[in-house]
Amino acid sequence: MNNIGLLLLPSILAIIVLPWIANRKGAAYLSALLATLGFVIAAYFSYRMYHNSQPLFFAYHWLIYDKLSAFFILLNAFIGMTTSYYAISYLLNEDITHLHPLIYRFYHTGYHLFILSMLVVLLSNNIGIMWIAMELATISSVVLVGLYQTPQALEAAWKYLILCGVGIGFALLGTVILYFGASTQHLGSEGLLWTNLIKITPLIPPKLLAISFVFLFVGYGTKVGFVPLHNWLPDAHAEGPAPISALLSGLLLNVALFALLRFKWMLSDTSIHYLPSILLITFGFIGVLFAALSLFRQRQLKRLFAYSSIEHLGLISIAFGIGSPLALFAGLLHVLMHSLSKTAAFFMCGNVMQTTHTQTISKIRGLFQQTPLTAILLLISILAIMGLPPSGLFVSELLLILATLKFNLWLLIPLVLGLVLAFLAILLKCQPLFFSNTTQTPLPLQTRSNRYWPAALHLLLVILAGIFVPAFLIAPVVHTVAGVL
């Protein structure tokens, strides 16, 4: 018996306690405090896991805690914590009329439910539980996306709910077929456990596995935002509150990709081990090229970053698809760096929107003149997202190029093309934001505390990681996963 169940405790506590607190400020601080507790617990367990070779199990082996999940949980808990601090100032600066007090309570409960459900996806060893948690993550984030209840927010939330509902339905179909495959080996309900499935997949007919994986890929791929199933993603990112856009982009997409990585890992010993790789690489490239071209057409700041997320997730899935130790290292480093820099960018988008009350790129000018600190942080995050040195994304993209070079020379052409196009598009769109002159004066704010440091901390980590690559975080995970992939 071990105590990894403690990981879930802060979120559960938050879900129970926060709806009862009427004081807006108090609730926001308590939410941040509990998220900090969550991060401390995650850091402690991750430290122990990295010095431990065996995975830990919990609740009848339904939950598993290995190095892969430790890595993702640490990232999730860290971003969950900084986002909840950022949300304190963000929510106080929102119009009182905009956010009804009841909705305010919904926000914190929904937020922690969202964090909890993602945590359960990362911990689940039971593929049924994984599905349930993923559906719960959809439902809780839909509420958060539609929080403002404006026509646009309602539409975005509706589209998100319907598209991901259909997607997640297909993932369930894939799960059912896989469970049926396991039942041919007379495992009973144990056949849902990932640790058992990984042992028996070589005995299950490959055709059945292939059908099941395709359904799972479509299902969880909808949540990753693979083109052409990406339609919900830009709307949901653009219309939700900034902290939620940050969580969607920085965490949820990774979590969905994590689920696919688990299933890929499961099929590594079968005769169809190439299928997940082909699908991930193909859809990765489609995503990168499509998003790079779409970036040129964007007129709104948050939509621009949403398309950039599609591009980066494409890069990560290419890395996971290639599956060599170098590619995995690049992929995991990219997960880490992209999450940190993209959340920082979304935080700053929130700041920009609160001072200018618009997110239309052509209406935002002279940010350095209006809000210098926000402008500096936004600029650094944009430069990081474009993959310029010394950000960690430069290192991860370089490593990905090297891994692709080793894997197949021809694939380098679309990859470099995608990277260059995305670079140009973001440069073209974002350059006028900062340096032109403006007559606009920034709108007054209620509070400035907690408004900048979360993004500054993220960007500091991204730059530090570009100089001293955090191999101590990634190498053990690669070691565990690459042995089998």
Partner: protein, 218 residues
């Protein structure tokens, strides 16, 4: 043998009800057909439970009956009364074309099912293929309708098809998982309802054209 035929009959009835749903122009008849489909699903699981008396199946039957035959219909009915849903739904394409598309999708489902003929035992094959076909019909129901309510119903039909496939292929999931899934679906439905009410308040109708404003503009 008779049991197998009866199960196949039930699953065919389910597909028939989904196909009928595609042809409906009134929201109320759509809801009635969905309730009928939920009852068919419960009957299916009951038959299985009577045939293979296992605790898991009985619990599964209890969960399905409680959530899909009692709670969801009551909620749906209250929702129709509350929102005064009696209007017609205009599909994007005309009914004849829609039926042809549905037939093609059903054929596709059957073919996909028969691709697995070597793997899946013969007795289960027809049930599995029909379930798949039902899932595809549900997708059509979601794509080719202009009203938000019919999209929700399409999603519920999709969930039904997956449940029936699960019940056909194995004796269903372990009960705790099934409870979790049903709970998720119920919660999802509640959220849908909240959004439907908000959409109605914002626009005065459920016509999808109102909520198709967020499009890429070149």
């Amino acid at each position: 043998m008779i049991i197998n035929s009866w199960l196949l009959f039930l699953i065919s009835l389910m597909l028939l009800s989904s196909t009928l749903m595609i042809m409906q122009s009134h929201i109320t008849s759509l809801i009635k057909l969905l309730i009928l489909q939920n009852i068919i699903l419960a009957c299916y699981i009951l038959t299985k439970a009577l045939h293979h008396p296992e605790l898991a199946l009985w619990i599964s039957f209890a969960i399905t009956t409680f959530i899909k035959v009692i709670v969801l219909p009551v909620l749906l009915w209250k929702l129709t009364r509350f929102l005064k849903l009696s209007g017609r739904i205009e599909p994007i394409v005309n009914k004849a074309t829609l039926l042809i598309i549905a037939t093609v999708m059903i054929l596709f489902g059957l073919l996909l099912g028969h691709k697995t003929a070597v793997i899946i035992p013969h007795a289960l094959l027809s049930g599995f293929s029909l379930g798949l076909a039902n899932a595809f019909v549900a997708v059509i129901l979601i794509i080719f309708r202009r009203k938000a309510v019919s999209q929700v119903i399409g999603l519920l039909v999709l969930e039904n098809s997956i449940f029936i496939i699960a019940a056909t292929l194995s004796t269903g999931f372990p009960w705790l998982i099934e409870l979790g899934m049903s709970f998720d679906i119920l919660m999802g439905f509640m959220i849908f309802t909240l959004f439907l009410i908000r959409i109605r308040q914002q626009y005065g109708s459920f016509q999808m054209s109102h909520i198709e404003k967020l499009r890429e503009r070149v």
